[in-house]
Every structure is written in C-alpha cells, then in structure tokens.
C-alpha cells in the first residue's frame, strides 16, 4: 500500500536568526503528520535549493523577518528553477507587508503566511495543495 507522507523543508534564508515562527511551524507540521526537514538559520538561497532537491520535499517553507524577503524569496524560487526543480513549491512567511504580496506571487511564491494566521489553516493549505508526484 503506497503511503504519501508530505515532506516539507522549513528554512530561514539570509542572516536573520529569529526562528520562533519557523520552530513553531516545524512542530506544528510534525504534529500534523508531516516529515519536516529543518535547515536552521542563516541559509543562502543556493543551500536551500540544493538541500530541498536532495531531500525531495514537496514544499519549501521560508521564514524571514529581516525585511530581505524581496530578494531572498525569489532567489530560492530561481535557484530551484535553475536546478530543474520548479515542481517543488515555495511558500513564505514572516514580516511581509501587503504591498509586497503581488511582487512575490509574480516571482513564483505559491502562498504567503503572515503573523496571525492560524496553524490549522496553514496545515490545511498544505493538505489541499501538495500533490502526489511521479
């Protein structure tokens, strides 16, 4: 019997070390029955993309509170694309002002979660949007 377990990478790109949100989410994903690969803080977009491919995750979840998301989030999408892995979805969270949403969606982010989002709603998004792949 085949059993598809959702695999998610939780990563913090850039130099920001505020990992409260990333850690809370990692726990929440585990409790939702996902497998979570946590890369820790201070990752470059290149490192994140390479790791995501080695781990064959369904989704990369990025957390950034430093204000550098406009550079870092699209850079991860781009690095995955360059490595032929644009089927790995990228989502983001952190301090992201409303006016940056469209820019980030245009850059290829699949979803953005900001403070105040319910954990259950985030989990639901993953359950609905992660597709089984061949």
């Amino acid at each position: 019997m085949s059993e598809h377990i959702i695999r998610v990478m939780v990563a913090k790109p850039g130099l920001d070390g505020h990992d409260r949100g990333a850690r809370v989410l990692a726990r929440c994903f585990r409790d939702a029955g996902f497998e979570v690969i946590y890369t820790g803080c201070h990752q470059t977009p290149e490192q994140i993309a390479a790791a995501a491919i080695q781990e064959d995750v369904d989704v990369v979840g990025l957390s950034c509170l430093s204000g550098a998301h406009r550079y870092l989030f699209p850079a991860v999408v781009e690095q995955l694309r360059q490595r032929g892995a644009d089927d790995i979805d990228v989502v983001g969270g952190g301090i992201i002002p409303d006016q940056d949403f469209q820019f980030l969606y245009d850059a290829g982010l699949k979803a953005l979660f900001t403070p105040g989002e319910k954990l259950d709603d985030i989990v639901d998004w993953f359950r609905k949007n992660v597709k089984k792949r061949d």
């Binding site: 505020h18 409260r20 850690r23 929440c28 201070h42 430093s66 105040g116 954990l119 259950d120």
Partner: protein, 560 residues
C-alpha cells in the same frame, strides 16, 4: 508581612463570607472562562489577601529604596531626581540617514541614543559579502568601517549623551569604533558612556545571532568587561538580555530565570578567567528586559529581578559593594505583542507595557512604534512612541512616588511566586553545570520552544486573546504608510566600502589583523588591537573572520 492575630482572624471570617457569596453568584451563572491565567499561563486567583503575604519578612523581602533587597529600586529618590532615560532604538539604511534620525530624536526630547544595526553588521559580515545580499540597511544601520561610524556619530556630543549599541558577536569591533571615534574627536575614554549589548549567551538561547562557539564567545565578552573596568569606567560592557529570550516565546518566569542565570555565568567567568574581584566589574553589568502585555506579571517580574540579583550578588558571590547588588536595567515594550492587523492598536499596547515598565522601576525605556511589526518605524510613528513615554512621565503622575504598588497583596504575592519559580530554574541549571553546559544540552532552547508552541496553540484555540487577530477581527485594512529601504542603499554602501578598501594602507591592515589573531591565540585581551585595527580602516568582517578562523564557527544544533 506580619499581621496581628486579630487581623488574620477577621480576614479569615470575612473571606469565608465572601467565598459563600461567590459560590452563590457562580451557581446562577458561571465565570466567563473556567481558568484565569497570565499571558505566561501562570494561574491567578480571583482575589488576594493578607494571608497571601503573611510569610513575608519586611526587612529581608521588601525594605526601602536604595537598600537591600532593592525590590523598591536602587535610587533613594526614585524618579524625582531624574526620569528613566528615554532611549529609542533606531537605525536604518546607512549611517547618514541614521544620524539624521538621531538628531531628530534628540530635538524631540530623547535623552539617550540606541543603535540598531543591520543584519550583515550584526553577524559580522561586510555589505559586499555574498551572504549579505539583500540585507543592507533593511533593519538597522549598515556599518563596515570606522568611516561609516564617524558619519553615524557626526555632531553627537559623545561626552554628554550615552549611547547603547545592540551588537553581540562583533561587539568588540563596534565598541572599538566608538572608542576610536571618541579619541579622534579628542574625547578621552573616561568621558564616554553607554552600553554594548554583548550578551552572547542569550544568542545561543534565543536570538541566534551566532558566530563562534560558547566558550570563546564568553571569552570575548570577558575581554570587554576587563577593558571597560580598566579604561572606560562609565561604560556598561554588557547588557544581559531577557528581551530576546521573551520574544523567542519564553514565559515571564523563563525570561527572568534564564537572564539572571546568564548574568551569574558572566560573573563566574570573569572571576575565573580574568581573576578580577567581583566588585571591580559587577557595578557595570546592566540588564535588559521585555515589557509584555500582562500588566501585573511584568511589574512583578521586574521587582523580582532586582531582589534575585541582590541576593545572588550578596550571598552567592560575596560581593561587598552595594553597587554590585543593584540591578540596573533597560526595558523595551514587547515587539512580539504587536499586530499587523489594526496597527493603531499597537499604540495602546505599547502605552500599557511602558506603564508596567515604569511601575516596575526601569532605568531606561524604548517604546515600540506602531508600525514596527511591518517595517522600520516612520518619523511620525517613532514620535508617537517617544511621546508615549513623555506622557507617562509628565502627565500620569506615576513618577510622583516610588514603587507605588509595594504592599499590594496581589503584586507582592505574584512577585514572590515569580521569584520562587525563577530560582527553581536557576538551581536546575546549576545542577547541569551552569548555563554554557545547559545550552549545549539544549535545555533553555527546548523550554522556550515548548512555551512558544503552547502559547500559539492557546491563541489558535482562543484561550488567549490578541485583539484584532483572534477576536474583534475587522475585515477593513487600516493602511499605514510604510518606510522602505530601497536597493540603492546597498549599491551605494558597497561602492563606498570598496573605495575605502582601495585607499587604505594594506600593510597596516595586514599587521592589525595579525595582531588580533595573535591576541586570540595567546588568550590576550583583543580590545586594544581592535581599536588600532579599526583606526586602520579594517572592516567589521575582516576582524570577525579572524575570530571565526581561530575560534571556529558555531552552528545552531536546531534541537527540538
């Protein structure tokens, strides 16, 4: 506190009557919720009375201001001599824009400066490092060399205004720049005053601004403590910080316990490593707390902090000097309590948190701006935040008298409870072999992660309320203008850094870095060498690369 037999008897009788009444009322309609607790989930009783504080000893547990156990404050005159320092944390873009913000704040009545650096500076990277891409000036000021620093303090009377710098792994370098800048302006080191945060232990526990492993990190901290004790007597060489521990999701008790245990670790390290007597440096240790939303819990926490520290210094470290027993601290209102939803509500949150900090007896205060959850604060938002402090100081009357909540059944009982629970943690960490050992085991990190997750679950379940987030939600956005640091800041900063690299004396740079490396290897104090190096226009990263090479790089174990 001693109550007469008659008082206790009548209290007990009246209490019984009240409890009967409560039962009757509850039978008709229950309370709004079955359990009432602080934001840290500490259960609170419906009512407190004399019996809750009858075991207190007035002399040992409360006393008078300026006297042991200093629960009522260090200063005998309270805020009458001088209000707390209005110290707004600020830094944005490059040195020039930050300098302009500083002058604006001083004109508006701010009484101390406080520097926010950008992430490359905080992590010991130059703006042109590949790791720094996209980060320049985004959440603070970008500093690469002494030239940036001179621009930052341009027109600032460094012998009159004290400056706090939130800097940790590269603290030796940035403090060296401050010292060098003063010397270049002809101000002797004995005349400058301020604080470097320089608290590495809380980085491992909470904030993760990491560079070297714990032991050499603490060694660098001890270097600054020693250098300050000998050459910069008005400087607080360390600000032992609970703020970030709390922001990472700790409870009030955890903030209190881990911060104070960190402080004890530094005291022990300086005594052991430098062989200094506790009273030669302890008076310059300062602290930094968070003021969160639960009003009385925060007041109790700050009062408990002073009493724990006084006891620890007197009894644990046998300090003879009362100034070593004083816990002097800065407070910042809780950034993590602010909401992007209905951002104007943040003004009210910040005001009540600031009031708690003042009633808890803070010596220095930063009030968050309403837009800080979204971006760097705008001029207008930062002005409202500063005015909040000024209104509390000048209009509310809370500064008229010292420690006005002392003797309150509730506040004293809560203070005792927080202290007791904090000591439990402190003793547990003692048993583990101290804070460095506990950190290596991941103990405080895991305790905080548990608390953060618990709180988030309570928010999701509606057991704890954040107005505008999980209750009283409104669909309408409340648009506020956001400050943006555009990419040209990074381009310009890289250009100017590279121009400096071209024009400086390469031989002097190389020699300076060799000197620092030798000092690291021999275990000498790096501070004099750092001051020399920054004068030769050595960059922040160049010094930090030496630290990384000699001491190794620390990677967060990411324990769960």
């Amino acid at each position: 506190m001693h109550f007469s037999k008659e008082v206790l008897e009548s209290s007990s009788r009246m209490r019984q009557k009240w409890e009967d009444e409560v039962k009757k009322v509850i039978a008709k309609g229950p309370d709004q919720k079955p359990r009432w607790s602080t934001i840290s989930d500490l259960e609170i009783k419906r009512l407190y009375g004399p019996e809750d504080i009858q075991h207190m000893d007035f002399e040992q547990d409360i006393g008078y201001p300026g006297q042991f156990p200093f629960i009522r404050g260090n200063q005998p005159t309270g805020y009458r001599g001088k209000y707390w320092t209005f110290r707004m944390f600020s830094g944005m873009g490059n040195a020039k824009t930050t300098n302009e913000r500083w002058h604006m704040l001083l004109r508006e009545g701010q009484t101390g400066l406080s520097t926010a650096f950008d992430f490359p500076t905080l992590m010991g990277y130059d703006t042109d490092s590949p790791k720094a891409r996209g980060e320049c000036g985004k959440c603070g000021v970008a500093i690469d060399t002494l030239e940036d620093f001179m621009q930052l303090v341009d027109g600032i009377p460094m012998d009159q205004v004290t400056t706090s710098m939130t800097i940790n792994p590269p603290a030796t370098v940035l403090w060296a720049m401050y010292c060098a800048a003063a010397e270049l302006k002809g101000i002797p080191l004995t005349k400058i005053g301020g604080t470097i945060q320089n608290d590495m232990l809380k980085e491992f526990i909470a904030q993760k601004t990491l560079m070297c492993p714990p032991d050499p990190s603490v060694k660098l901290v001890s270097d600054t403590v020693e250098f300050g004790a000998k050459h910069v007597p008005r400087w607080n060489t360390i600000s032992i910080s609970g703020y970030h521990i709390r922001e990472a999701g700790a409870t009030a008790v955890q903030e209190l316990a881990f911060t104070l245990r960190d402080g004890m670790e530094y005291v022990e390290d300086v005594i052991r490593r430098k062989g200094l007597h506790v009273d030669t440096f302890a008076p310059r240790l300062s602290f930094f707390f968070n003021s969160h939303s639960d009003f009385f819990e925060e007041i109790a926490k700050l009062r408990a902090a002073r009493r724990i520290w006084a006891k620890a210094m007197r009894d644990r470290y046998k300090s003879q000097d009362e100034r070593s027993w004083w816990m002097r601290f800065h407070t910042q209102t809780a950034g993590c309590s602010l909401t992007a939803q209905q951002p104007y509500n943040n003004v009210i949150r910040t005001a009540t948190q600031a009031l708690a900090a003042v009633l808890g007896g803070t010596q220095s205060l930063h009030t968050n701006s309403l837009d800080e959850v979204l971006c760097l604060p705008s001029d207008h938002a930062v002005q409202i935040a500063l005015r909040t402090q000024q209104i509390i100081a000048e209009e509310t009357g809370v500064a008229n008298t010292i420690d006005p909540l002392a003797g309150s059944y509730f506040v004293e009982a809560l203070t005792n409870e927080l202290e007791e629970k904090a000591w439990e943690y402190i003793h547990k960490i003692d048993e583990m072999g101290g804070m460095v050992a506990a950190i290596e085991k991941g103990y405080p990190q895991l305790e905080i992660a548990d608390a953060a997750y618990h709180f988030q679950k309570q928010i999701d379940a509606g057991e704890k309320i954040m107005v505008g987030v999980n209750k009283y939600v409104s669909a309408e956005p409340s648009p506020i203008p956001l400050v943006e640091i555009d990419d040209s800041v990074e381009i310009e900063q890289v250009k100017s850094l590279q121009a400096i690299r071209r024009k400086r004396d390469d031989k002097a740079v190389k020699r300076s870095l060799e000197d620092i490396k030798n000092a690291c290897k021999k275990g000498d104090n790096v501070m004099p060498h750092c001051i020399e190096a920054v004068k030769n226009l050595v960059t922040v990263q160049e010094v930090c690369d030496v630290y990384r090479e000699v001491y190794g790089e620390y990677r967060d174990p990411g324990l769960y």
